[in-house]
Symmetry: C2
Subunit: 142 residues, 2 copies
Amino acid sequence: MNYDVLKLENQLCFPLYACSKEIIRRYKPFLDDIDLTYTQYIAMMILWEEEQATVKELGTRLYLDSGTLTPVLKKLESKGYIERKRSDTDERNLIVSVTDEGKKLRERAVCIPEKMAGCVNLEKEEAEQLYRILYKMLGCME
Amino acid sequence: MNYDVLKLENQLCFPLYACSKEIIRRYKPFLDDIDLTYTQYIAMMILWEEEQATVKELGTRLYLDSGTLTPVLKKLESKGYIERKRSDTDERNLIVSVTDEGKKLRERAVCIPEKMAGCVNLEKEEAEQLYRILYKMLGCME
DNA sequence: CGCAATTAAATTGTGTACAATGTAATTGTA
DNA sequence: TACAATTACATTGTACACAATTTAATTGCG
């Protein structure tokens, strides 16, 4: 039997998985400076943009479930960057909102994307292709 | 100040991270059939190809360190798919090799890549572009 | 040779991920 | 309007992932 399909270099998933991890590892020094992990960072990115969101909304945007988000959000709360309170109109919903401290953090985070861009040595066109293809894949996997 | 750079949709890392996770989640039903996790699966892929490898070599190929690999390999050993023994010539090296049971598993795994290909709705050309760009990125990050 | 430096794995500690399950609030319908 | 179904979040259990440290073996240099 021909087992070539089982070779790592014939898989599309593997370089995706490895790339994702390696890039996140490169974020670490920059994120350490502002005392966030990558998961905490992407959660804050939504909240900086929206001011507030439910756990459900965060999960949909970030492709994460409450099992992952609950401890992440509790951690962000303990650091003082967010507040967690139940909705008055529907107590099932937990509303997460940015504190003043969390807004200040945004100032210190704004330099990170530029620093990271320097780590990814892609041509502008390649980056655009990659971006388009990845979002196409994500779109197919809803 | 303009905070657009901090928007999730302006990041390249995020769709990479989300795509990687979503695809691996789609592997799960197929991998469940052969009682492997994704990490165990990619470790077995190297070993099916090479017959044997050290933890160091596996780590280099898979972008994983011993802190991740040691428990994964112990698990594969407990399932009977691999053997772990120290090298005779250099006892620092741990040599991981496939058992007969592990080789049999290969037969059952060989259908998985095809099943997964059906889950990724990309044109052939897009898949090739994606592949090329991802390996370029990985190459830059050595 | 002798011993400091290096190397390979294992261990420890923290933080995700996610499936499965539990709990409480809300909705829809007979 | 009861109450079954649904929904949102939390909890539990398993499995990574990685930085930092530890341990043991090997290498290289004076």
